[in-house]
Subunit: 129 residues, 2 copies
């Protein structure tokens, strides 16, 4: 079965997303977001629904400041339908210098060649794994 | 495109799962689990990886004791691949008498006609939405 368009675009975006987490360079990922992009984050100062690409830029800068030595990803699973791609992965790094690991599921909604929404879900409380 | 086998079985299991959350009756869902079923829960006394159908029975009893007036589901999205089905939903109810709502993603891994693994991810910290 041919890979669906949403899956193709979702995977491309995820590659740029993990590059952002690992290196702090987010421009390639941000270029893939629609101007009306929304994101849902489960906790902290960005808890809830956030709107707009500029808010996203600010958010990913904040993430990279917290994980300034990089946050590293092991991808476990990719699932999709015609509009959404969900990635289940584990991440590990230092959060403001303290060892951190988590299990995460993130959903990208695809519109055309871009990502119009992002929802993040936590699989552990981040304290242990 | 014909619905995949995993999607068909996943949806069937999800119906029984929501019935369990709403009513506290879990037997129909438990019947769909393999004996070596595993589940990952993000927090509390079941935090981490839990193994076996009996552990699952104990866990779902615990959930229904905490949400004794029922936990009600609004399903937002279903995504799948050949082995996994993920459901994004919101739930709302009373947790030991206190108003509770959350956004959740759960993954079911399908083997044959059964569910062999379950992973739960939280989209909010459960305190607000």
């Amino acid at each position: 079965m041919a890979e669906s368009k949403s899956l193709e675009i979702g995977k491309k975006a995820f590659k740029k997303f993990t590059h952002g987490l690992e290196t702090g360079e987010w421009e390639a990922f941000l270029e893939m977001l629609t101007d009306d992009f929304t994101f849902w984050f489960p906790t902290g100062q960005y808890h809830g629904l956030n709107q707009g690409k500029e808010k996203a830029r600010e958010f990913f800068r904040f993430v990279s400041e917290a994980f300034s030595e990089g946050l590293f990803i092991s991808l476990d699973n990719i699932v999709s339908n015609e509009k959404t791609v969900i990635f289940e992965f584990r991440d590990e790094g230092l959060f403001r210098g303290v060892p951190y690991k988590n299990r995460v599921a993130i959903a990208f909604d695809v519109r055309g060649d871009k990502i119009c929404a992002y929802r993040e879900y936590y699989g552990s409380d981040g304290k242990s794994n």
